[in-house]
Amino acid sequence: MDFLNAIVALSNFVLIPAIAYGSQLALGALGVTLIYGILRFSNFAHGDTMAFGSMVTVLVTWWFQSMGISFGPLPTALLALPFGILGCMALVLITDRAVYRFYREQKAKPVILVIVSMGVMFILNGVVRFIIGPDDQRFADGERFIISARDFKEMTGLSEGLAIKTTQGITVVVAVVAVVLLFWFLNRTRTGKSMRAYSDNEDLALLSGINPERVVMYTWLIVAALATVAGTLYGLDKSFKPFVYFQLLLPIFAAAIVGGLGSPLGAIAGGFVIAFSEVTITYAWKKVLVYLLPDALEPSGLVQLLSTDYKFAVSFVILLIVLLFRPTGLFRGKSV
């Protein structure tokens, strides 16, 4: 019984949150990795692109809520998500036209594009805060739990509860659907293959009659969709706060680099590696250990390796280790 309780506690506090967080990071890292693979620069504005897409979703959600439209037990934000994606697509196409295309025509070096993307990041950062304000915004509604801790305890008779939030369930389902669609698109469609070809060998793609502007446009559209989905899921799961997306840049980049920049599969793996390390290292293991160890060995402290305040340090350390020992990442992407 103690062992079962330990497993339930572990699932409740580590596995489930890490899977949900990992899915969000994976979606974010996919966007970063696609931009890196195809447009060949690290897009620092990605976090704020997520913030912008989510902001549009939040605004549309509020509008729906005020009109009394709801999605039954599911959050209304899911209905608003397509509008958020469209808004975000418009935004990235405008920034591409206004900013990135100029540098592409100059054949600017990637490092210049990185700095340019930082400029875009600061502007977006301001725009989002100007529109919706810097504070926490709540927009989640519908059922809160798929299984609440109390129901679980009653069902199983265990003393530990297992709660699965609706948002966690939705996060995983939506992430799986998005990833399946993305891989189908990249591997099975002509446009997707053009994108892979362009990522593989730009010169040859051009000389094979592939129109670069078209590839770039589709890349931005896909990235906008991924960013909005990732941002909205994160917002539903935690809460929407513009600054948080800026902070998410670090774990997202860490995930993309750990997996291997330019490799979509790597981005997903990287997302989960980062999420699981972050959650396991900042979790207070006392609860699990109390069930597993004999009374005499019961720990007196929290057995928390690192305070949650330092959770971003985890991404940093993983990033450093990977860059030192395997710069191309787990899935042999392009070296940084």
Binding site: T189, K193, R196, D203, L207, G209, I210
Partner: protein
């Protein structure tokens, strides 16, 4: 077919192509030779739209194509290969070939979702064509291999195959023979001659192997220091004193004589 008029390409103070003028006749296999650094590849790059020219004009069948981007030149039937073979490394050889023909239905987002049947038919036809090309090049056994893993010579053949997937008019081959063994080089040579005879491709070939040039090319153009030195049959070129001088490395002592 192609006329280049007084083309210049400068990199800072270095004049890689320095007033080259030449004409490529339709249906010919023209050889382009010259010592290293003569500006042959730069000339190719400018014609193929990879680099913008500093000045000068390139026309194709009377139409000005100076500075057009590569993918537009491709649709006009002007193709090129690279000195160091390029391939889409993560795709199979067959997929590499199937990438080439442009303007397929699968290219628009609408058709991606709603025109599945038409795309499937096109893909089937393309696949058959790709297999045919691989057979023509005698590398059909490599169809499902990742293109990044095949040998350098086979990559060169694959590059040639790429030009066969569309109706090319003129193909620029940049050192097809570099790092390729004799047997494979002969296969490549055979393929070039057949494409020229059977499909009417015009070829321009950069090559250092004189036997290969002698077998395929007439006329031969010799470049040095960014200029065209001489044009004629290989024997005429070999006998030309300026050409000998350029190859022996004494450089151009009497530039004005040549310009005249």
């Amino acid at each position: 077919m192609i006329a280049v008029e007084n083309l210049h390409k400068h990199f800072g103070g270095f004049h890689a192509v320095d007033g080259a003028s030449l004409e490529i006749a339709e249906g010919s296999i023209t050889g382009l030779i010259g010592p290293n650094g003569a500006g042959k590849t730069t000339l190719f790059n400018v014609i193929a739209g990879v680099l913008p020219p500093t000045s000068g004009r390139v026309t194709m069948a009377g139409e000005d194509i100076t500075g057009l981007p590569p993918h537009q030149l491709f649709h006009k039937g002007l193709l090129r290969t690279f000195q160091i073979a390029h391939e889409f490394g993560s795709m199979s050889c067959r997929e590499n070939l199937m990438m080439v023909p442009a303007a397929q239905s699968g290219e628009t987002l609408w058709n991606t979702w709603f025109g599945r049947k038409r795309i499937a038919e096109e893909e089937r036809a393309l696949r058959a064509k790709a297999d045919e090309v691989l057979e023509f090049l005698t590398i059909e056994h490599l169809a499902d291999q990742q293109a990044g893993q095949i040998s350098g010579g086979q990559k060169k053949l694959l590059e040639l195959g790429r030009t066969m997937m569309v109706d090319a008019k003129i193909v620029f081959l940049d050192e097809v023979g570099a790092g390729v063994n004799r047997t494979l080089l002969n296969t490549i040579g055979d393929a070039i001659i057949r494409l020229n005879k059977e499909r009417g491709y015009t070829f321009v070939v950069i090559e250092h192997d004189m036997d290969f040039i002698g077998r395929l090319c007439d006329p031969v153009i010799c470049m040095a220091e960014g200029k065209v030195l001489a044009k004629g049959s290989l024997d005429e070129i070999k006998a030309n004193e300026h050409v000998i001088e350029a190859y022996l490395g004494t450089g151009l002592k009497n530039k004005d004589k040549i310009d005249a």
